[in-house]
């Protein structure tokens, strides 16, 4: 299972990547900008993408749209700094699968996403946010 982490803040990105690498079955790739993300996405063809909404001024939703354009079936976990209903509403519109808030979501939440994704893959269904 291939996972791509897109996050412009190095510290936070490393943190997420480290946590994910604890799973031996996961192949983890990372990207800091929207450009890198698209490049990496095409190179590694991930099953799951952790996507920061704020990529140094770039709108994460526009990257999501592009990714969805490339591979509609990819699972998406959105990382935001604001736990706002409006964000969740927007995430739904962009068919985001998981919603995580930086500073609130914990290591367990990230692992929960991975586990949920695995289960979902087995059930051929999509999980709600």
């Amino acid at each position: 299972m291939i996972v791509l982490v897109v996050e412009d803040n190095d510290i936070f990105r490393k943190l997420v990547v480290e946590n994910l690498r604890d799973f031996p079955s996961l192949e983890v790739y990372e990207a800091a900008t929207a450009e890198e993300a698209l490049q990496e996405f095409q190179t590694c063809s991930p099953d799951l993408v952790f996507m920061d909404l704020d990529l140094g001024g770039e709108n994460g939703f526009s990257v999501i749209r592009k990714i969805r354009g490339l591979r509609p079936q990819v699972a998406l976990a959105l990382l935001t700094s604001f736990d706002l209903p409006e964000y969740k509403q927007a995430a739904l519109q962009y068919q985001v699968d998981y919603f995580l808030t930086k500073g609130i979501s914990t290591q367990d939440d990230i692992l929960g996403v991975v586990n949920s994704f695995r289960t979902r893959r087995g059930r051929e269904g999509r999980l709600p946010i």
Binding site: N9, G57, L84, A90, K102, Q107
Partner: protein, 601 residues
């Protein structure tokens, strides 16, 4: 009763008349004596035949003498008759004429006066009055008003041989009435040349004199008014003219009269040329001739005065502009009898008008230039204001990003790790401490978020204006729960241009803050809709309202704050900002962006 001198004169006249009759009788008597002598001699000789021859001769002589006497008598009779009839004519003539006739003898006594002499003197009858008496009632003055001594009277002067001619003034002492008189006098001479009397004829010329005086006065007045008129005409360059249609066929041959000023206007010395219509038209600018003819024809047809402006080319080639106003007078036959007109030289006026127009135009140009400069400055100012807003937004955005990317993300990472640590911590005291730190960090994160959102809500750029308004009103509600906000956003996110989003957000933010601060409203609503060809946004509250005009005009002097900042933002983004409010009736703020035109960036 004593005879009066007047009666004496009459007696003298009667005596003269008697003498002339007597003389005729004397001649008849002489003739009859001669005839008697002849008859007696004839009888005598018949009685004495012896003395026949002598007697015959004698009688023949007598007869001849008789014949001579007879012829003389006949001659006398004829002359007498002629003399008589001549005297009758004279008398009739003297009595008949209206002039006074005075005749005196050599001694100065009046021998004959006619009736006018009596009546003109103001006397009831002249009979029996002496000259002295007459002069006691009237006095005679020289024309210059000096009293004339009696010895200078025309009759007395003529008795001295003079022929008098002149004027006198007769004044009635009683009434003071004056009569002007013209007299002529001459001596009467006998065949030998000796002066036997004098005759004076006097004519009352008072009426003529007065009429002449009147005429002189009238003429004087006329001359004065004419001179005033001429002067006024010259000052105003106003001339007069008149044409009489004596000849209806050849109109141009009719006499045209020009006033002195008209001559000058047309470039002639007054009276220096004979004027007629041909001359007039020669002086009119060729391009204007037809218009004049048409104006006259139209005025005649419509029986109305006409006014026309045309150019005049003077004989020296200079051009003038004149204004003509004329009126047509019609004869009893309905045909035009004459036209009377006024002509004014308005060249100067026209020149001044042109100059005025020119300076007006120049002023207009200058105003246009200044206005353009002002517009330019205004544009520059607007551009600056726009730049200011943009810079402010950009800076806020940058700072918000910084807070998010650096502190925000780092804090998030710290919190992430703290959570992991708390999970693995075995020491209770340590895990309590960690929980405390986690709470503190969470507060920091929350505070950091609050600051970021206050600077510029990331949601606006990440999600859009509709979500931002929804988030903002929810946040607002947390702070001001007593003012429920109703959002009516009947527009698609995609229909709102990106550049307008921050403007809409800032206006809504400002408006809602004002409502919270000033309105005492119980509720407020925000509507955004797509109307017609534009986007409309209204923010309405049910608060206490205010005097919108006063506040807006006051705020104009302190730009950048409060209402005018909303207005500025609206207008800089191409919208129109209106605010209506009434005391006690709430406030409505409306911004309309017609066809969206982005502000300069």
């Amino acid at each position: 009763m004593k005879d009066r001198p007047g009666q004496k004169k009459i007696k003298t006249i009667q005596k003269v008349r008697f003498m002339s009759r007597h003389r005729r009788r004397l001649r008849v008597f002489t003739l009859s004596q001669a005839l008697l002598r002849i008859v007696l001699n004839l009888g005598w000789n018949r009685l004495r035949p012896n003395r026949a021859l002598y007697e015959v001769e004698t009688r023949a002589g007598d007869f001849r003498e008789c014949e001579g006497e007879l012829a003389k008598a006949k001659e006398d009779l004829k002359r007498c008759s002629a003399d008589f009839s001549q005297r009758t004519y004279w008398r009739a003539a003297i009595e008949g004429i209206i002039d006074e006739v005075w005749i005196c003898d050599a001694a100065g006594n009046m021998s004959l006066v006619n009736l006018p002499s009596v009546t003109h003197m103001g006397l009831e009858e002249f009979k029996g009055k002496s000259v002295e008496e007459v002069l006691s009632e009237v006095e005679i003055l020289h024309p210059d008003g000096h009293l004339r001594p009696p010895q200078e009277s025309p009759l007395l002067r003529s008795l001295r041989g003079e022929i008098g001619r002149g004027e006198e003034i007769m004044r009635h002492r009683k009434t003071g009435r004056q009569r002007y008189r013209q007299f002529s006098s001459a001596p009467i001479r006998n065949p030998e040349g000796a002066i036997t009397g004098a005759i004076a004829v006097v004519r009352d010329v008072t009426e003529e004199k007065e009429a002449e005086e009147e005429r002189r006065k009238a003429e004087g007045q006329l001359r004065r008014s004419e001179s005033v008129l001429a002067q006024a005409g010259q000052m105003a360059s106003l001339g007069a003219w008149e044409i009489e249609f004596l000849d209806q066929e050849k109109v141009n041959r009719n006499p045209l009269r020009w006033s002195d000023e008209t001559y000058r206007i047309f470039g002639y010395e007054p009276g220096s040329v004979a004027v007629d219509n041909e001359l007039f038209f020669r002086r009119v600018h060729p391009e204007d001739r037809r218009a004049i003819s048409e104006a006259v024809a139209k005025a005649i047809a419509e029986k109305r005065p006409y006014t026309i402006e045309h150019r005049v080319i003077r004989p020296d080639g200079s051009e003038r502009i004149v204004l003509e106003h004329a009126e047509i007078f019609f004869g009893p036959d309905g045909k035009p009898a004459r036209i009377v007109g006024a002509v004014q030289d308005i060249t100067e006026r026209k020149r001044m008008e042109r100059e005025l127009q020119k300076s007006r135009d120049e002023l207009e140009i200058r105003v246009v230039e200044r206005t353009a400069e002002l517009r330019q400055s205004e544009r520059r100012l607007r551009h600056l204001a726009s730049e200011l807003f943009n810079a402010q937004e950009k800076e806020r955005k940058r700072v918000a990003h910084e807070l998010h990317d650096t502190i925000g993300s780092s804090l998030a990472a710290v919190q992430f790790r703290l959570h992991s640590l708390m999970k693995t911590a075995e020491d209770h005291a340590c895990s309590v401490e960690l929980a405390e730190v986690t709470r503190n960090i969470a507060m920091c994160i929350e505070e950091n978020r609050r600051i970021q959102l206050a600077l510029r809500p990331a949601i606006l750029d990440k999600v859009g204006i509709l979500s931002t308004l929804s988030w903002f009103s929810r946040e607002y509600q947390k702070t001001y729960p007593h003012i429920p906000i109703r959002l009516q956003l009947s527009i698609e996110e995609e229909a709102v241009p990106d550049v307008l989003k921050i403007v809409i957000y800032r206006i809504a933010q400002e408006a809602l803050n004002n409502i919270a601060k000033h309105s005492q409203a119980a509720s407020a609503d925000i509507r955004i809709s797509h109307t017609g060809n534009g986007i409309e946004m209204t923010v309405r509250d049910d608060g206490r309202g205010f005097d919108a005009a006063a506040v807006l005009s006051k705020e104009n002097h302190q730009p950048g704050i409060g209402l005018s900042s909303m207005k500025e933002r609206a207008e800089l983004s191409g919208g129109t900002f209106t605010m209506t409010s009434q005391i006690g009736r709430g406030t409505t703020l409306r911004v309309f962006w017609p066809h969206f035109s982005p502000a300069r960036t």
